[in-house]
């Protein structure tokens, strides 16, 4: 084959039509930062790339409703998340997370939709959105559906996305007083891919934890929401002991795998430490970063 087709639809409906064939050589192309690597290594041999860069501005918009819920268009770049005033005010954890994700040039073009769809478990954005109870709005040939970000992944580089289906938007419910954090542990440089990613959120009602989220990623084959650890926390008063118990449970329930970043034994130990510190950070409200 000498070359492939690059198309730039201007509406999401047309993009979906152009993707609909389900042919493995046909894929959406947003920032291109992940898909270019796959093309360069021959992991993906394109027949048609459907660039989403020509879609109207509404697909990269960020807005907040009266209750403090946020909508983020799939084509919003990671730099926009980093700098947007609404994001910084309503969900500062998102803006903070961007600072240590890749580099300025990658963030300038990489999109929220691409970061959610790629399916690499070593991604920083999905666990944070999952801890915020974010919902991905998917649009495809058979219409639109809502999937919690925590349920988007079925395995290593595997997602629930059907052929022709796009992540169109992300909706985050109002934080309602919850405090969320993300802790990224790298084994080489500070801005490397995470070896362990832990996102957590705590909501207090009086002196009790009324709801908790514990998400583990990077160390595992896919992002994992650890409800067993959340159950340890819910209804309890925050304390070092409770956080340590939850962290032990989180580590025991994480399906940690070996990879180039470290052995599973090492990473399991780190998951426990990072969940414990993450819960403390969420409770204390500010993170070290």
């Amino acid at each position: 084959m000498r070359g492939f087709e690059i198309v730039r639809p201007t509406t999401i409906e047309r993009a979906i039509e152009l993707l609909e064939s389900g042919d493995p050589g046909v894929r959406p192309f947003s920032g291109g930062t992940a898909i270019m690597q796959m093309m360069k290594t021959g992991m993906f041999v394109p027949e048609r790339l459907v660039s989403l860069a020509g879609l109207s501005k509404e697909h990269s918009a960020i807005s907040v409703d009266g209750e403090g819920g946020m909508k983020i268009g799939a084509m919003a770049t990671l730099s926009t998340l980093e700098r947007n005033d609404l994001v910084q005010t309503c969900f500062p954890v998102l803006a903070r997370t961007m600072k240590r994700l890749a580099n300025v040039r990658v963030r300038n073009v990489a999109t929220v939709g691409g970061a959610l769809s790629h399916g690499d478990p070593h991604m920083d954005l999905p666990p944070v959105l999952a801890a915020l109870d974010a919902i991905a709005i998917l649009r495809g040939p058979s219409g639109s559906r809502e999937v919690p970000v925590a349920d988007l992944y079925t395995g290593y580089y595997e997602t629930v996305l059907e052929p022709g289906e796009l992540v169109a938007e992300v909706v985050i419910p109002p934080s309602d007083g919850a405090s969320a954090i993300y802790r990224k542990t790298t084994s080489r440089t500070a801005d490397d891919w995470p070896m362990v990613g832990v996102a957590a959120s705590l909501r207090l009602s009086g002196s009790r934890i009324s709801s908790a989220r514990v998400i583990v990623s990077a160390a595992t084959a896919k992002l994992q929401r650890i409800t067993a650890a959340e159950d340890v926390l819910t209804g309890q008063g925050p304390s070092r002991e409770v956080f340590a118990d939850a962290a032990r449970v989180a580590s025991a329930h994480s399906d940690v795998i070996d990879d180039a970043h470290g052995s599973s034994v090492y990473k399991s130990a780190l998951v426990e430490i990072e969940v414990r510190r993450g819960l403390r950070d969420a409770f204390e409200g500010e993170t070290a970063e």
Partner: protein
């Protein structure tokens, strides 16, 4: 419509874009990235080194935003404005960032320098007086094999001081 094929037998599309202020109008193959295209146009300041977005040697500005040209499909710059180090000053002259890099001796082999210079331009456009931390964070995705980092950071500070709008205005 009949597909057009180039001399290598690759299917091409015609694109128009501005390169350092000059209109370009030419056939581009689907697999070409922006470094390939620039080299074809005799622009050699953006170099493909890692090819993965990591090192910044291929940094160019597309519509004033710094990107890795190695991860940019050339056909997708259709309609955009691309700026490379060649376009910073008229031939034979240097602009204030380039001069700052020379003044501070911020390179040895120079391979990484155009990338750092373009990033510095972008940084100084966003932040008037970047702190040391801001400089380090912004340039963290640019690698210098000769490890001229301390001099590079000094050069950015010098450039910030010497920027034309600062020295020309009273």
């Amino acid at each position: 419509m009949m597909e057009k094929v180039n001399l290598d037998g690759a299917v091409v599309n015609r694109i128009r874009f501005k390169l350092n202020g000059r209109e370009k109008n030419l056939d581009v193959a689907s697999h070409e990235n922006l470094v390939d295209l620039l080299v074809r146009l005799d622009h050699f300041s953006a170099r493909e080194s890692c090819g993965q977005g990591l090192c910044g040697c291929c940094t160019v500005l597309v519509d004033e935003i710094p990107v890795s040209a190695c991860l940019t499909l050339a056909q997708l710059v259709d309609g955009s404005e691309v700026k490379t180090a060649e376009g910073l000053a008229p031939p034979g002259e240097l602009d204030f960032v380039q001069r700052a890099f020379i003044e501070e001796g911020a390179f040895q082999c120079g391979f990484c320098t155009p990338g750092f210079v373009m990033m510095t331009h972008a940084l100084l456009k966003e932040t008037v007086d970047p702190s040391e931390t801001e400089i380090r964070e912004y340039l963290a995705g640019n690698l210098c094999r000769c490890a001229a980092y301390p001099e590079i950071i000094r050069a950015v500070k010098t450039a910030a001081r010497n920027r034309p709008e600062r020295t020309e205005k009273p």
